[in-house]
Point group: C2
Chain length 429, copies 2
């Protein structure tokens, strides 16, 4: 059987694992595809560098553009990351009729449209399971298994670095900075952790998930994004005392009328009984709620060389089978053409602590302000008394705009000295 | 666009939900498939019966064989269950070149080979996501997402009825019979609960999972099967006291040398910290360990009309897309052609409680017997004393044959009055 020839762009943590698996599992892969998979070339930045895997030097090239243009290349795997040169190379490969497997969440979330259009024009496949939640089979279930269902909500822990940090803060009482340092020492966080801790990485994944869940085109720009840098040990301890845990969540939720959706990344308190609450260390997990299927959860390793390579190779087998059969996998599905609504229209709940004077009439004035903004209070608890009096309030569901207006009003009340511990509450409705 | 025509065999709990969703989501389904899906006919046992969904009486027929033979039928959905007439009808449809979606685990585990061969001969698709773990996307991830990986083990709670019963016993201290009655009252268990509580249902699913995980042909006959009827409230309480919970597990594990696999269904103690321990009520969850992907878990509703219909419709969209594209999904993959080894070769651990006389030398004689069978003891704890003395022992990993021989030897020792609480221990290695 004539082999299918694969060009690999990038030979870092993921790329080197892809090469290892292509060698070690060559026989299994050939049996599953129906033809051998052969490495045609590996594009790298520098030729001489020491690598985690042995590669035939004859396969290495710094000229990625010529590699993807070669007639003897059937499939291109892109694991360089970033916008350029990845976009140009993928478009070049697709427009030549090759199939592409990529793990590039940033590019898909920034300009997926260009890639999908190139795939359509070239009649090749564009697969990207590895771009969200690493090894966890998640995009294929959303795109195929749930194709006969109506996804209502996706709620996920999709960034391992921030989950590691928040888990340490929760289990040891550490400060954000100490937990971040530990994550960096262990290799869970990068020297410049911005993309993770400010939620950019999770936002890109949220955009990809929302697009698949709601059959619409979604970019990272549509995602409301807040990071975890402001979270204090006190926030974590208060949440714990109330039976909650703080997680950085990516949330994609269809509006009640089904005509739009919200897509956001921010820290939130979730009940300790929620399945996502038990997701420890750098693991990822994604909760999907569909009309007929009900609640589903997918759990596993969200990053790392071998797990990500597993997802890449699963896609590689699929696109290789498709090429042999002369067919293509499911195209981008954007027929619903829904838009993300502004964060203000998102319905959520809020936890807050108000430092107030402990005197008669305070609660009445606070309650009046909530009522004015049409926000109803689910629980209010007074802690301490005298000058240390604090009202800890959790609201019922309301729009984020109403909740924000309520917060602003509270900050202007003379009886409220400070508003602290402001955190959205998710996962218990 | 010319519609694709669908024949439905069976209009019970699942079938009626399939009809409802075909109507309610007709526009979405058409957009996702690329052509409308049209119900061509519904085969039922009796015409006059009251149903959970409104069906055009003109579509109903008791002549299933003629329905699947009709030239205007493209896809057949089989939700009758059981071996015959389901097998004959599916083979008839496939041999006529139609595609088939089925939820029939019993048939697939009994005689999947016949169905797959008919699909190959007729060049149609045979999809069966709904046959295992209801709405949880599990077979597609195993068959496609992990196609580039090496599955080492599948460990799952795949029967909701038994999980409900064991969960009640664990949370309320109820006896098996009381928990079973409650499950029956709530509709989680059938009037004749044999298929569930004796593990037949889980064994069929285990066979399907093992076949996909190990790329081999596996039937229910190869599955070692034990039910949960012998489990007492005392067993559950002892497990709880030791930090374990008892679950009915389906386990498919590749042998260390990779040349065979074990496939079994039996109750086992798992640590409360294991992700499967938190699976409550009638939920299902399946843990998959793959060489590169690491540990993955899939969680959701394993049964029920709407969840099962969601899985059926996901498959329906896939096979409909394939028909439009003139192609087929992945075929049965049995190239590895491995066999199940006998239960005796399976490696596991055992918990047991020995009623012994509390006198010097007892532990030495017990330990000597374990050593004779090459079974090493992980923990031994003495409870009570005098005539009530009990040794609670948990072994290290050993073959089931060695563990069984050890048990037999213990029963013959004069110093051992009774061996109770015998239960395998899984999930902490």
């Amino acid at each position: 059987m004539k082999p299918l020839r694969v060009a690999l762009l990038g030979c870092g943590v993921v790329g080197s694992q892809v090469i290892r698996l292509l060698h070690e599992q060559a026989d299994d892969l050939a049996a599953r595809v129906g033809a051998p998979l052969e490495l045609a070339g590996v594009a790298v930045r520098r030729l001489g560098r020491k690598r985690d895997v042995e590669v035939d030097p004859a396969l290495l090239t710094t000229d990625a553009e010529s590699l993807v243009a070669r007639d003897d290349v059937d499939i291109v795997i892109e694991v360089i990351g970033g916008i350029e040169p990845a976009r140009g190379l993928i478009v070049s490969a697709l427009s030549r009729g090759k199939s592409v497997v990529t793990a590039n969440k940033a590019l898909l979330a920034e300009d997926g449209a260009t890639l999908h259009e190139a795939a359509r024009a070239g009649k090749g496949d564009l697969y990207f399971e590895a771009s969200v939640a690493g090894a966890i089979p998640l995009l294929r279930p959303l795109r195929e298994s749930l194709a006969g269902d109506h996804v209502k909500r996706v709620l996920g822990i999709v960034n391992g670095t921030t989950n590691y940090i928040l888990d340490k803060m929760d289990s040891t009482g550490a400060s954000f900075n100490d937990a971040l340092e530990e994550a960096q020492a262990l290799g869970y966080a990068e020297a410049d952790p911005t993309a993770d801790i400010e939620g950019f990485d999770a936002a890109a994944k949220a955009a990809i998930l929302a697009g698949l869940a709601f059959h619409s085109r979604v970019t990272a720009a549509a995602v409301h994004r807040e990071g975890i840098t402001e979270i204090t040990a006190t926030d974590v301890a208060s949440a714990k005392a109330m039976g909650y845990v703080i997680k950085l969540l990516a949330i994609c939720a269809r509006s009640d009328d089904g005509r739009s959706f919200g897509v956001r990344v921010h820290p939130a308190m979730i009940p300790r009984t929620h399945p996502l609450a038990g997701v420890r260390e750098a693991y990822n997990a994604v909760f999907v709620e569909a009309e007929s299927a009900g609640q589903l959860m997918f759990y596993g390793k969200g990053a790392g060389g071998a797990p990500t390579a597993s997802a890449v190779l699963g896609d590689l087998v699929a696109v290789a089978r498709n090429r042999l059969a002369g067919t293509r996998g499911p195209e981008e599905s954007t027929y619903a053409d829904l838009s993300a609504h502004p964060m203000g229209e998102t319905v959520t709940r809020l936890h807050m602590a108000l430092d107030v004077a402990d005197k008669p009439g305070v609660l009445a004035r606070v309650a009046e302000l909530f009522a004015k903004h049409d926000v109803s209070i689910q629980t209010v608890r007074q802690e301490g008394h005298g000058d240390d009096a604090q009202l800890v309030i959790v609201t019922h569901r309301a729009t984020d705009a109403a909740l924000t207006a309520t917060l602003e009003g509270l900050r202007e009340l003379d009886i409220v000295r400070a508003v602290t511990g402001v955190m959205r509450v998710e996962g218990d409705d």
